[in-house]
Amino acid sequence: MIPNSTAAGSLDLLRTMLTIRKAEERLAGDFKAGLLPGPVHLYIGQEAVATGVCAQLDDCDWITSTHRGHGHFLAKGGDPKAMFAEIYGRSTGICGGFGGSMHVADVSKGILGANGIVGGGVALAAGAALAAQLDGEGHVGVCFFGDGAAAQGVLGEALNIAALWKLPLILVCENNGFSEFSPSSSVIAGDIFRRAEPYGIQSVRIDGNDIEAVAEAAGAAVERARNGGGCTLIEALTYRIHGHVEGENAFLKTRYREDEEVDSWRLKDPISRYGRLLEERGDIAVGKLSELEESIGKMINDAADAVADDPYPDSASLDRHELGAS
């Protein structure tokens, strides 16, 4: 049985994916308009992964994320307004404007943060899983990481410890085909999910654009972890529709993928695909998807607008992060 397979659950999944999509689209526009102070890495096309996984978690479960972290933040319950404010560099941001896009975190929601160090979240999640294990309350640690990050040795180190200590850890590799501008096949040998096998860790490769497949695999992994069954590695095949980083065409002199490839993945869009499915099934009324798109789009734009002119942090606020300040 697929977790969240009630009609209400399905609608929630759809809503979350749309929330992420609309937020990312807003940021894409903001970037183009020169409104963002720093770089942003968008998640468009990958929404089913964060959404399907985080639907299995609650606030006491921990996640670590990546430089492409807005989707994970929102799916795990982070507040869109506080996220926009952060990315705009405002004092009302979830990190007070100190962190920005690559560091959005909300510890109260179990979000240990996006991370600018590729692979950096792996060990953090393993540590959080150790904490969860010691707590003994059935919580888990989840690490989202990319196919490119799978080349970092710390992944093998984590698989080893997770197997030895039966850590309640779920490693979610979002294989979106690229490590920056390198196609995965040029930097990753073999199948990522198989890397768990020598450690005796369960692993599975799924269609990351099929939210029910994600939810099912994540649900099984989370349940196993909560019950002392240890770690799972999930490799979710997906695709990033936008570039590695917004504005990349300004500095790239050569193309690294064909338009046709991008177009072919647009056809597999996880949101419209799931919307169609729910309509077909009768879980939602026909037309509900576009209605939701509109209302969520408005909600997101309102959230962004509401904070776009919030004050920047005061430079005196730096003082509070020095060692010795409490």
Binding site: T64, G96, F98, V122, A123, L124, A128, V154
Partner: protein, 326 residues
């Protein structure tokens, strides 16, 4: 007072803090067997949940320490020889030192990285560094550098209770000397230098194992009527500026003794501090006594020639005294 070797003072601190707070956990390679003796008996006493023998995976270990401390534990991460902090450096530098700022204080990290530094036993080029300054350079990690049993105990207890990362660098690769420890609860605050010996003619700032070297030099100099004041910063970073400056204001002369390489030595930090903030009191050039900018060599005479000894300190002091006040 009880007389103990420094390494056993550390053991006492660990026992007391683990007794005091069950959220204190210890991870490290062979912390069960305890190569140095500092973690001896802890596994039997506190069990394998709280005392964890790690595989040889320093990058993971330091990152897990960050993750587990972000998730609510007080983690002591034992890195064995101080050179292995380089192996563990990524999570210390890119995560531990900055998560507080990047999350606007949502994440505080009660984590202690401990390791044994310094040469003197022909452990050669990869087992003899005293790398306090590379860690200090990160800005977000306290660096505690005890020189004696009492301070080792008191500083480690404080470090474990501190909500920010601490690198606890024990001068024990030479075994750790005997020293008196006050009975009962003994705490030494971070960032509090100690004036070990009062004097009028010249200030020696010495850290770690070099405090003893400085003391021997001071005794030799006393026979010639030269009155030396010895300041042990005890915390290499941040410095207790007032105590150092106060001493130099009194004596007007400064020698700094550190077994770290010159380029990575606290001599630079202390000299810069004094040249900025106590310049008008200075009567002579500031003379560093450090290890030359090489890895420690293996052959005993080479090693002996590299690491500062009392003779070199005596010479340095005499040099500052020869200089005429400008």
């Amino acid at each position: 007072m009880t007389r103990k070797r420094l390494i056993h003072a550390i053991n006492d601190a660990l026992v007391e803090e683990m007794e005091r707070d069950e959220r204190v956990i210890l991870i490290g390679e062979d912390v069960g067997a305890s190569i140095f003796g500092d973690t001896r008996g802890l596994l039997a006493r506190f069990g394998p949940d709280r005392v964890r023998d790690m595989p040889i995976s320093e990058a993971l270990m330091s990152g897990m320490a960050v993750g587990a401390s972000a998730a609510g534990y007080r983690v002591v991460c034992h890195l064995m020889y101080a050179n292995f902090i380089y192996t563990a450096f990524d999570a210390i530098a890119n995560q531990a030192a900055r998560l507080r700022l990047m999350t606007n204080g949502q994440i505080r990290l009660p984590v202690v990285f401990m390791a044994a530094g310094g040469g003197g036993r022909s452990n050669a080029g990869q087992h003899s560094d005293y790398p306090h300054m590379p860690v200090a350079s990160l800005g977000g990690v306290y660096v505690a550098t005890p020189s004696c049993s009492a301070d080792a105990k008191g500083l480690l207890k404080t470090a474990i209770r501190t909500d920010d990362p601490v690198f606890f660098l024990q001068p024990t690769s030479r075994g750790g000397e005997m020293g008196d420890i006050p009975d009962g609860e003994h705490i030494v605050p971070l960032v509090s230098a100690k004036v070990l010996r009062s004097g009028d003619d010249v200030t020696i700032v010495a850290v770690g194992a070099m405090v003893r070297v400085a003391s021997r030099a001071a005794e030799a100099l006393a026979e010639d009527g030269i009155s030396v004041e010895i300041v042990d910063p005890r915390t290499s970073y941040p410095l207790d500026q007032d105590t150092i400056i106060g001493s130099v204001r009194k004596t007007g002369r400064l020698v700094i003794v550190d077994e770290a390489r010159s380029a990575g030595s606290i001599a630079n930090q202390v000299a810069a501090l004094v040249a900025e903030k106590a310049f008008s009191s200075l009567k002579a050039p500031i003379v560093p006594v450090t290890t030359r900018d090489l890895a420690i060599a293996y052959a005993p005479p080479l090693e002996k020639a590299m690491i500062p000894d009392a003779d070199r300190v005596v010479d340095a002091v005499r040099m500052t005294l020869r200089e005429i006040a400008p």
